[in-house]
């Protein structure tokens, strides 16, 4: 056996000083040689613990083996067998807490860079394999019709699976493009929109119809889809799109955004190309982003790229408790974003034009652990201090938009507004012929967990439709 190589191959990235001023992708991906070198680090251990770490059970050792053997079409086939959106997952999945966390080599050195390899194979396939060679043969139509509400990862994967099983699928999407958070939330420099649209086209190529500009609950209700429009089943994948605010004074000042609004303007409406694209966004010279998750990092890095001189991340706990992916927090710091930890806003300060000009903050300290097991941040009395800012982005999380629950009698919801499913393995709700999955069920989570939920529900919908 070859000697164990404990160091992973670095993936080239844009220089921090350069990338802080553009929206091009930060991580550049492996070259074919680098990919092969990294793939050959895999020792093909018999236990294959990485598979258990993958929420959709990709046969990871198998695709890596094909890569080492130089058989990229086979690697792509193995990946796509389990994951319809590998180019996306390879970029945004938190591999460090999933497949890579359980990698055998990880016990001694750096785990295999599974995410980077996945990305490489998916990109190679998109560039090198003509679309028709990827086309799947669909089974004969069953004559059953399924409506999917929402076109985020949950909805897209549910739609793709249901269509591949021979059912007629229509996706209803409220926005003017399909993709959900992948389009409006995650920025271009982390997930190029052309990649998301290529995946959407793949789903369409399976015969799935996508109706944009269609707000279910307003244009038609779930019950109308089932009872008047002739759908046999409905899958709800509407995500968790309602932004939370802090309810502190000054939150409605001009220049105070929810992360959803800021990111939607920048990513979905392409405000970074204003005025060619006509939707504006306030750039700001000094920007404070409140929160410590991926959404906060994305907002901060967008603000920097739009031209802010100074961008702060304001987080009430310490770096250790930050929910953002470590890699993204590091990227942000490298680019020059300053983390103000153990800090929490008390109020936002405005001028006579209602524009935010500053923020009064508390210093925090960590107390006893709370329900989440993390130490609870508590206010240090008398620690107030001011920061000058002209744009604030509140990235404190989101909950499901109440529209679907309010217009779908018979659904069960929790006090956080999430929809209750009777069994996670099927995604069935308590309402007859209605399934749900993704962030609408779990609250804000991950792309891969939403996809997994969509796939599981699709299998159960199929079983139901076949009686």
């Amino acid at each position: 056996m070859a000697k164990l190589n404990l160091n992973r191959v670095d993936m080239p990235r844009q220089d921090p000083k350069v990338r802080a001023h553009n929206f091009d992708e930060v991580a550049l991906g492996y070259s074919p040689e680098q990919a092969k070198e990294e793939a050959t680090r895999c020792i093909q251990c018999p236990k294959r613990p990485c598979i258990a770490g993958c929420p959709v059970d990709i046969d990871i050792p198998e695709f890596i083996k094909a890569m080492s053997a130089g058989d990229l079409p086979e690697a792509a086939r193995v990946l796509k067998d389990r994951n319809a959106l590998p180019a996306i997952c390879g970029r945004v999945c938190p591999q460090e807490t999933q497949c890579e966390a359980t990698c055998s080599i990880g016990k001694k050195g750096a785990p295999i860079a599974i995410g980077r390899l996945e990305r490489f194979v998916a990109d190679w396939e998109r560039d090198n394999m003509p679309a028709d060679s990827q086309s799947v043969t669909l089974p004969p139509p069953t004559g059953k019709r399924v409506a999917v509400v929402g076109s985020g990862p949950a909805g897209l994967s549910a739609a793709a699976e249901v269509a591949r099983l021979g059912h007629d699928v229509t996706v209803f999407e409220a926005l003017h493009v399909a993709g959900g958070v992948l389009m409006y939330g995650i920025p271009e420099f982390r997930l190029p929109k052309a990649i998301v649209q290529a995946e959407v086209e793949y789903v369409s190529s399976l015969g799935v119809k996508i109706e944009l500009d269609s707000v279910v609950g307003k244009m038609m209700t779930t019950d109308e889809l089932l009872n008047e429009e002739g759908y046999d089943a409905v899958f709800l994948g509407t995500g968790a799109g309602l932004p939370m605010f802090m309810n502190v004074p000054g939150e409605n000042l001009n220049g105070v955004y929810s992360a959803n609004e800021f990111l939607t303007r920048v990513n979905l409406m392409k405000a970074y190309l204003f005025p060619q694209y006509d939707t504006p966004v306030s750039v700001g010279k000094r920007v404070a982003v409140i929160g410590g998750g991926n959404v906060a990092m994305d907002s901060a890095r967008c603000a920097l790229r739009l031209g802010a001189d100074k961008v702060y991340i304001i987080y009430r706990r310490s770096e250790e408790e930050m929910p953002a992916r470590r890699e993204e927090a590091e990227n942000a710091q490298e680019e020059g974003i300053e983390f103000k930890l153990l800090t929490n806003p008390k109020q936002f300060l405005g001028n006579d034009q209602n524009w935010v000009v500053g923020m009064e903050c508390y210093q925090m300290e960590l107390g006893e652990p709370d329900d989440s097991g993390r130490r609870r941040p508590v206010v240090k009395e008398g620690s107030e201090f001011n920061i000058d800012v002209d744009v604030v982005i509140v990235a404190l999380g989101t909950t499901p938009n109440p529209l679907i629950a309010a217009t779908t009698p018979g659904l069960d919801t929790t006090r956080w507004g999430t929809v209750v499913v009777t069994d996670e393995a099927t995604g069935r709700t308590v309402k007859d012929r209605v399934w749900a999955g993704g962030d609408i069920v779990t609250g804000a989570a991950t792309v891969i967990s939403a996809m997994g939920a969509g796939k599981r529900a699709a299998a159960d919908i199929d079983a139901f439709l076949r009686g």
Partner: protein, 276 residues
């Protein structure tokens, strides 16, 4: 793609568009709005519905030119298409038999108050409509609004037609005479603010249709935050109708001015390009 079935210039800088949108037409109610986008590079803008034909599958909006998007719309013609037309959005205006209702409309809102006045009248109300504009040449739909109402009062700021003065004057007189059970005011924010201020001392409930800047119009961004009775609301899903006596008008007016510099830049560039 949504087709413009009919474009009509009502008065200078105010245009009517009848759009082919069967799904929206099926569901829309008075007081709701739509969000449209002209093309890939365009902004999403909200417009209140001015009419619909469920059989034909069409929805009518009336647009006043103020900036880039509304001017770009003004250059479109019958037969052209726009990429997006989403709706119906927002909560419909609450229609009930209140007794006597005064409907006040300023500028382009003459068009959007018509379906509301008509529904109120059909619900058994005596509807007194007041329509106002800066001058005679900006007034439209006099006959249409007269038919939708029990009585019609016309005002122009410069006295070139109807009564001379602001719409708040006849409103105040009616309130002083008594017997008014409800006021509904739609138009520019400043006009709605002063209608609400006028009716407040009389304790007559006054509904207004707020028009903060919006992006999605579905409750996803919070751009449309307004403060009503000290509580933050998302106008696109909690409204756009609110109790005018409880609205923080100064906040609304200030937030509407969030992008003045950017809007000017965009409009100047558009004008330069089109030699307007």
């Amino acid at each position: 793609m949504y087709k413009i079935l009919q474009k009509q210039d009502l008065v200078p800088h105010v245009h009517l568009f009848k759009i082919d949108a069967p799904r929206v037409a099926q569901k829309v109610q008075p007081g709701q709005f739509i969000v449209l986008r002209i093309d890939e590079e365009g902004e999403r803008i909200p417009l209140t519905v001015a009419g619909w034909d469920r059989e034909e599958g069409s929805v009518t909006v009336v647009v006043m030119e103020v900036g880039t998007t509304t001017h770009r719309l003004g250059m479109l013609s019958t037969g052209d298409t726009i990429t997006d037309f989403v709706g119906p959005l927002g909560v419909p205006t609450h229609i009930d038999n209140y007794g006597t209702v005064v409907c006040v409309a300023g500028g382009f809102a003459i068009a959007v108050i018509r379906p509301i006045a008509r529904a109120l009248k059909a619900a058994g109300n005596r509807v007194i409509s007041i329509m106002g504009a800066r001058s005679k040449d900006l007034l439209f739909w006099e006959e249409e609004l007269r038919q939708a109402s029990s009585e019609l009062i016309i005002n122009t700021d410069d006295g070139s037609y109807g009564r001379h003065g602001l719409v708040t004057e006849p409103l105040k007189e009616l309130l002083e005479q008594g017997g008014i059970d409800r006021v509904i005011a739609i138009g520019p924010s400043i006009m709605m603010k002063f209608c609400a201020k006028t009716s407040e001392p009389f304790g007559v409930n006054t509904g207004v249709s707020l028009n903060p800047i919006m992006v999605d119009g579905t409750g996803m961004c919070g751009c449309c935050r307004v403060s009503v009775n000290g509580v933050t609301k998302f106008a696109c899903v909690d409204g756009p109708d609110f109790d005018g006596h409880q609205v923080d008008w100064d906040l609304l007016l200030a937030r509407q001015r969030s992008y003045l510099d950017e809007e000017k830049l965009s409009f100047d560039q558009w004008r330069a390009k089109h030699g307007v």
